[in-house]
Symmetry: C2
Subunit: 349 residues, 2 copies
């Protein structure tokens, strides 16, 4: 089937571009001796995760236990889950999964460490736990190097856990100094930091500027979107992920309505103006959305699209878009090669 | 299973409240002689659609052909699809569906009418088509009463179509005058307007204020959310749809992190400040999200939640939230009664 025959809206991956993106970033990290642990929350598709591993990734990153369950089921055996898992139901699932794959996790509190220790004991296999520190994003993470060191000591004291190192997001100008301070604190106890896991796609080409970070987690690097374009991490010509839409209404001379809205593109703005870049009409302003309609102002375009015409959209943020589709369509030279169910979408937390 | 035993995040429907919401609005529309055609895009669950029909709805509204396919498969036989369908693939599916259920649709252009006429001819059953007019929202819809009348005449001239009337969204202060003008224009041709379909949950209790509108489409009235609370359409005590979350991090004295972010709550703001109302901590400010984390400032709360505590969130907009979950959990008096797959989520457009 040709791409022109796909019904819209359709989420399309240009396989040549995606494979080039996978190779390019892997080569960059290899050059700098940084381990690549791609974040699969972007695509949630086991086949793509396997491609990332085949290219040289040391393992994958999942953001939800349910994603990890899907990936283990698909044969992936080294998974980092940088999320505070709490609650007996999740710890039970974690224990089951730990028997089937090598899992590492994070914690930023003793309560989380205690739960992970119970899960590891139940599983009968050790779990590796990294301490998450807040790199300035204001999300999870311990606030000071002293707190990081203290939590590392708690992990070390647990019989069923292994202290794996430190985790933060995103890698930034505060990261290295923080790591060095923790390293110095732990050195007094004779404790080493095996892994420092940083991350981010927007900063992916600066991974080598963090000598104290030896692993990088990026997700969007395989696809690209308006956000990564804005940050210069990916060029428009390398964007492998796009959404095909149809102009279903031309109610006025200036306005066009797409057959995709907030349930197609998500409402993520990420600081951007508008909801997507219309490739064929770059001057168009994708200014509004309802759930299944995109509202576009074509007044700045010399030539305007006809009713029924197809247009291609680079969304603001590829991750939630992939998560809204049942399937992503892989194309090569305009021909459909594969249709991948988004296997881990909506998976349990 | 008790609600306390559900793992988080979980999307919960209080069945008593939902049933009361269904009854209350049906009774209101019945009192005023307005047909109720609820929009199932809010829940996408056949069992709930059947409840709405059992309460007295004349049929349902779907926003996507794929939703209609799921609902027909579940035995629903009267479906309004107020969306401009274009493209041979969709028209082929429409023709198949038209043989299995009574379908009505909308159009705002001759091109759409022509496609619907072909589909109806192919199906061998007539399709009812309403003319969509722009009530001021600036989405789809013809712009003037003259254009509406002209398109109605195009529909009437088609052998395979029936002219069904007019559709707009939302019902507002412009609606009645527009309808009356079209009515007068069509009366000269001896054409009557059988149905005028308006809609909206925020304006649902004003449906009777539009004497020229004889059908109402509302979606969120069964659930309620922060948006409908703000508009006074639903009271907080009647909100039947909530998301259970767990506080997975308390990185500072003021900040708490929930195990749900933009892939749980969507990024819809709808003009609201923040991303949800935390029922147990109404003074808390749900100020930020990443994909799987909610960032909450509890500084205004005299008592602050403990790490691991569960909190209940009323989201900004219930529709995209239901669309992000694999299943909604129906509870009654705190006990799980039913778990419904969100059957039409991610369905083809």
């Amino acid at each position: 089937m040709r791409i022109e025959q796909l019904d819209t809206p359709a989420a399309i991956i240009d396989l040549d571009l995606m494979e080039a993106n996978i190779s390019r970033f892997q080569a960059y990290l290899d050059t700098h001796g940084i381990a690549n642990r791609p974040h699969i929350k972007t695509h949630k598709i086991p086949a793509i995760a396997h491609q990332q591993l085949a290219a040289g990734a040391v393992g994958i990153t999942c953001q939800k236990l349910g994603e990890a369950e899907v990936m283990v089921e698909a044969g992936i055996r080294d998974i980092f889950l940088p999320y505070n898992l709490l609650g007996e139901a999740k710890l039970e699932r974690l224990a089951s999964l730990a028997r089937r794959a090598t899992l590492s996790l994070t914690a930023d509190s003793e309560l989380v460490v205690q739960g992970l220790a119970r899960a590891a004991a139940r599983a009968g296999v050790p779990l590796t736990v990294l301490v998450e520190f807040d790199g300035g994003m204001g999300r999870c993470g311990v606030q000071t190097p002293e707190a990081a060191a203290e939590l590392a000591r708690v992990i070390v004291r647990s019989d069923s856990l292994r202290f794996g190192g430190l985790m933060t997001y995103p890698s930034n100008e505060r990261t290295d100094a923080f790591v060095r301070t923790v390293r110095a604190l732990l050195a007094r106890d004779g404790l080493a930091i095996a892994c420092v896991s940083g991350g981010g796609t927007q900063c992916m080409w600066q991974a080598h500027a963090h000598p104290d970070v030896n692993e990088h987690r990026a997700g969007m690097y395989i696809f690209g979107d308006r956000y990564t374009l804005k940050h210069g991490a990916i060029l428009e010509q390398d964007c492998s992920f796009k959404v095909l839409t149809t102009i279903v209404s031309r109610p006025t001379a200036e306005r066009g309505i797409l057959d995709g809205g907030s349930k197609t593109f998500s409402s993520d703005l990420l600081g951007l103006e508008g909801h997507g870049l219309i490739v064929e009409y770059p001057e168009a302003r994708f200014y509004g959305m309802s759930e299944e309609h995109g509202h576009v102002d074509f007044s700045a375009c010399a030539h305007k699209p006809a009713l029924g015409e197809r247009v291609t959209v680079i969304p603001n943020h590829c991750c939630p878009v992939a998560n809204l589709f049942n399937q992503l369509v892989g194309v090569r030279s305009g021909t459909v090669e594969v249709v991948w169910p988004v296997a881990a979408r909506g998976a349990l937390q």
